[in-house]
């Protein structure tokens, strides 16, 4: 593996100063589950790494505040799965956690790392997209926040400015009568890159029959980055969620998806699975809202 220098900051401010000085000349490393294998396979290079793994005091937290959930960038997938603050309406977070990597990876892989890696194989991204996540970015100049869907620009491309560090994400708040569900298909169940990874967050009107808002996110809609399926979302809003509506939504999803073939699966196969999952996830989310 090519050599690199590791800078270990004394605190968050020191890390930000270092980033401010070096800018693009340094890469941030949290727990390294994505970066280290890529460095070893020479798919990534870095002359300098800024090691933020010791900043857990500032960046590893899960807090509930004004109905929203604030998750620090250094929180691990296991931290999320074990948190009592993840309510029933956010069941999809636990479901995604159980299908994420394997137990050893879940114990180290971080929320911030998953987001910043920004590929269609980062299982948390569709989950956070469906939860309307906002990312918080910190620099010496201060803090800014932007929607996750605007933060992810393309495969491994994020709109993080030089000198900025992703400090955390904010999820929700979800209105009353909300439910969620998640599905992932890979060639095996554990430690596998998803062919299809789909997340639904459904909010119903008080009648628990009419869709107030449906948020649907997939690891790929068009191209190779996780996105929201906005045509399906628009179609579902305001409709009564019955078998006809779901079937029609599946057709809308089919026309919205523009998936290419690759060595893992054909675009056609992925689209078919995405359609099946849409039905399953809408029904399960509705079930979770209605309780029957």
């Amino acid at each position: 593996m090519p050599g690199y220098d590791i800078y270990v900051p004394t605190d968050l401010r020191d890390a930000l100063s270092y980033l401010d000085d070096l800018g693009e000349a340094t890469s941030i490393i949290a727990r390294g589950t994505d970066l280290l294998p890529r460095l070893r396979r020479r798919r990534a290079s870095a002359a300098s790494l800024l090691d933020i793994s010791g900043l857990g005091g500032d960046l590893r937290y899960i807090r509930s505040q004004d109905g929203s959930l604030h998750v620090g960038a250094l929180s691990t997938v296991s931290d999320l799965m074990e948190s009592p603050l993840i309510g029933r309406e956010m069941e999809l977070v636990r479901e995604a956690g159980r299908k994420f990597g394997d137990p050893q990876i879940r114990n180290v892989a971080t929320v911030g790392g998953n987001i910043c890696s920004a590929t269609s194989s980062e299982d948390l991204i569709p989950v956070f997209l469906a939860l309307d996540a906002r990312v918080k970015l910190l620099s010496l100049k201060g803090e800014r926040a932007l929607p996750l869907k605007d933060f992810i620009k393309g495969k491994r491309t994020i709109s993080k400015k030089s000198g900025e560090i992703l400090s955390g994400v904010e999820l929700g708040p979800l209105p009353a009568n909300s439910g969620s569900a998640y599905e992932k298909l890979g060639r095996r169940n554990i430690l596998i890159i998803a062919l299809v990874n789909e997340a639904v967050v459904l909010t119903m009107e008080a009648d628990r029959e009419t869709v107030r808002a449906a948020r649907v996110a997939l690891n790929r809609v068009a191209g190779r980055v996780p996105q929201r399926a906005s045509a399906v979302e628009e179609y579902l809003a305001g409709r009564r969620l019955g078998a006809d509506t779901i079937a029609a939504a599946q057709a809308v999803l089919s026309s919205e998806l523009d998936l290419k073939n690759d060595f893992r699966a054909s675009g056609e196969y992925r689209s078919e699975i995405a359609k099946v999952y849409l039905k399953r996830l809408l029904e399960l989310s509705a079930f979770r809202i209605r309780g029957t």
Binding site: G3, Y4, I6, P37, R41, D51, S78, D102, P103, V108
Partner: protein
């Protein structure tokens, strides 16, 4: 190319160890080559096989995917540090009974994972055992003996 050295103090199997490590050293490299803890197997170096699994601050991790320089102040436990553990003794007996070690290469990681599963959850379900060892590859594919050994060890340990 710059290659920084880091002075790291960690507790390994109960003993405090201080060493200078290279920025590219993984925890696995240090455990095997500097501290001679050969139960930690070097399988894939990319987090795919799980054979280098150890407990880092009480959590099961792949030591090949952890940078040694990041282990400042950490508590690391390998199989060598668990041999006197009462639960480990039961697990080892059950692994023998079920012939759960075929070639033996995954056995240390399986035992550490088994200890992690049963110490977190005294009554693991079959699924919890399966999922608990799901990140460790046995290329002899002898998963059933391992699975039964862990289940029976948990059963026997119940008060």
């Amino acid at each position: 190319m710059a290659l920084s050295k880091h002075f790291v103090t960690m507790t390994v199997n109960g003993a405090e160890r201080s060493l200078h490590v290279d920025s590219t050293d993984s925890l696995m490299d240090i455990l095997r080559d500097r501290l001679d803890l050969k139960s930690v197997k070097d399988g894939c170096r990319s987090g795919d096989c799980g054979l280098c699994a150890v407990l880092l601050d009480g959590k099961l991790v792949n030591s090949c995917l952890v940078l040694a320089a990041q282990c400042r102040g950490s508590v690391v436990t390998t199989l060598e540090g668990l041999v006197e553990d009462p639960l480990m003794k039961v697990l080892q007996q059950k692994f023998l009974k079920y012939n759960a070690a075929q070639c033996g290469f995954c056995t240390p990681a399986m035992l550490v994972a088994a200890k992690d599963i049963v110490s977190k959850n005294a009554k693991p379900s079959e699924d919890e055992v399966r999922l608990g060892i799901s990140g460790i590859l046995c290329r002899c594919t002898g998963y059933y003996p391992i699975f039964h050994a862990i289940l029976e060890a948990a059963e026997e340990r119940k008060p």
